[in-house]
């Protein structure tokens, strides 16, 4: 299991994956928005999306878990 966390404080702009979806390393899971910049959050390793812990437009802090991969 790998937790994918927000690397910046901002809001969730787009969620690019669905629960159960297989992803490979480097694939964009979530796009955060902060200070008018879009910041993609990528999968560090390949796996399957087990859980999505945020919804679009939600505010997140640096370090908050966004997606759990298994």
């Amino acid at each position: 299991m790998a937790d994918v966390a927000a690397h910046i404080t901002g809001t969730v702009w787009k969620i690019e994956v669905k629960v159960g979806q297989a992803v490979s390393a480097g694939e964009v899971l979530v796009i955060l928005e902060s200070m008018k910049m879009e910041m993609p959050v990528e999968a560090t390793d390949g796996g399957t999306v087990k859980e999505i812990r945020v919804t679009e437009a939600q505010a997140v802090n640096e370090g908050d878990v966004l997606v759990v991969l298994g």
């Binding site: 910046i8 404080t9 901002g10 809001t11 928005e33 902060s34 200070m35 008018k36 910049m37």
Partner: protein, 449 residues
Amino acid sequence: MFRKLLVANRGEIARRIIAVVRGMGLSAVAVYSDADAELPYVKEADEAVRLGPAPAKDSYLNIPALIEAAKSTGADAVHPGYGFVSESAEFATACKAAGITFVGPPAEAMLRMKDKSVARGIVQAAGVPVVPGSEGIVPDVASALAEAEKIGYPVLVKAAGGGGGIGMTVANSAVELEKAFRQSSDRARAAFGRDGVYVERYFPAPRHIEVQILGDHHGHLIHCLERECSIQRRHQKVVEEAPAPLFAGGQHAALQARLFDAAVKAARAFGYANAGTCEFLYSDGEIYFIEMNARLQVEHPVTELTTGLDLIRWQLRIAAGEHLTVMQEDVRRTGAALEFRIYAEDPVKFFPSPGPLKVFEPPTGEGVRLDSGYGAGNLVTPNYDPMIAKLIISGATRAEAIARADAALSAFKVEGIKTNIPLHLRILRDAAFVAGELDTKFLDKHAKA
């Protein structure tokens, strides 16, 4: 003159406008979103009105809420600052309908400047040089190749109806152009529902030169010399200065004269009044008009510090119907000024860095001006752009301004968030920067961590 002015903006520019307004003996109304209630500009205004929640669309872009705030406080004029509603003809029209003076150009002039191809046609007709390119949409590969032959490679292929860099591709040869045409055309169809592309000359490393314009509503219009803003990152200006190092020591004097002439012609062609800026690219001995910004620029202080003109004060006087009493021959420059945009961002990775400003101790000293939107104890939220302050340094010469800037930036203490101050110091100490050898790709090659 007005009695009460509402500032439809936030942060450093709201604070500066409020200071000018109060200095003229008028009262100032601030507006704020829930994210900004504690910022200095809100407290420094005579009155403050809450617009709504943090997202810009619910607050600073919310035209009905802005008009209501002006009506409820009895403001008779609105200054939009830059960004947000500053270039919105819709907002200017809404102000007029509500009997409130909009501090800016006439709405009709804003509409003429908004559509890039319309604006291009208007200035071209006035004899202003534009980036060589297709006059309209290029429908097929064969015509794109023919256009590129005329323009010369490399060319930039732009999706019709595009914007913000979407659907833009550089082509260095006919083979690349065929591929780029298909890519951009597909993007145009998918994203904007329109076929076809524009083709124009691509400049790999141009310089960004712009001219300040000031005009009244009685037909008097002047330029207030140039600024150079070649130090950019992802099309965002980082350091701006006046005079342009491009013209240092009397170089390109004939070109400089043509630049001023072109800027004044373009502004007149739009029917412009109030403060605005004509932006140009410089490449290989030529200047090309790109656009006119119908508002005050972020970097206006470098013009103020070198010409002695208070641009915001003039904006208000012009909007109130006064005559611009400054004649072209009165505009003279003394010394040099540099502006450093202080961004809440990682100075190496360029990630945004919102957070609490635990320590904020700006420098002081000879030639040091700070236009800041924040103070110690404020929270920098992720809701708006990352610029928290502008450090503007002037000196008798560019070299003196650079030396003062080095001391000021070194003494600037900010804790709690990361800022690009270390990047500014790297830029300042770069030999090419000191020599004035600038272009818009400067940061790709220089000032590395």
